[in-house]
Symmetry: C2
Subunit: 128 residues, 2 copies
């Protein structure tokens, strides 16, 4: 693009997205499929964090597990019964759960869910 193009022309030229490591549509990152594809996680990685947009079928059980990474899970769509340590809540849209590194957590989706999962440090095991 040249400096003489208007902003409108410049922004129109951006669709569809050119490859970028800075800007992306998260669901265009190939999914990591977990639990026979009932969980489809699209993950992008920075230097300090991994950002995931994760789609889960209804009635999916995420077994209790733990990892050293701090995790935050935010629900965009759906209802997700979620446990951290001894505390269980129903996550609904707009709700966040903060999972300290090393804390056991898991849950069951009550409906199909779309959630954001962020981790620090980077989930190196999610790069592939």
């Amino acid at each position: 693009m040249t400096a003489t193009q208007s902003n409108q022309t410049a922004t129109e030229s951006l669709s569809p997205l050119r490859p970028s490591e800075t800007f992306m549509r998260v669901t265009e990152v190939p999914a990591k499929e977990i639990l026979d594809g009932t969980i489809r996680g699209h993950y992008a990685h920075g230097d300090a964090m991994t950002f995931g947009e994760v789609l889960l079928d209804a009635n999916t059980v995420v077994p209790m597990h733990e990892h050293p990474h701090e995790q935050m899970t935010y629900v965009i769509d759906g209802r997700f019964e979620f446990t951290v340590g001894a505390e269980t809540r129903i996550l609904e849209p707009g709700m966040l759960v903060i999972i300290p590194g090393g804390a056991r957590h898991g849950g069951t989706t009550l409906t199909a869910c779309r959630v954001i999962d962020v981790f620090s440090p980077v989930r190196e095991d999610y790069r592939s």
Copy 2:
């Protein structure tokens, strides 16, 4: 709650939310107002990350700025013309931008927006 209560009873007793540092509705965290209240950021902090649900009015200009924290911004609702370094794109719902620590960034909302901003390390300046 006692061990003899059913799960259903236990989960019903969780509404409205009891205070928790683990589970929260992000917009119930008091907002940090920026730029005369045109930006209202609700921030929760872990040990390694800060998670924000941020509401911006249409036509809000976020001046170019930088900070040492890595930032990732994900759009839930709205359209946001966003610049990182020399690259400008229109963010739409489902789009993510990864902003390395120290990178100059800013933008202009084209509509009212609801975005997720995550940072690592923690934004100590957003605790108050």
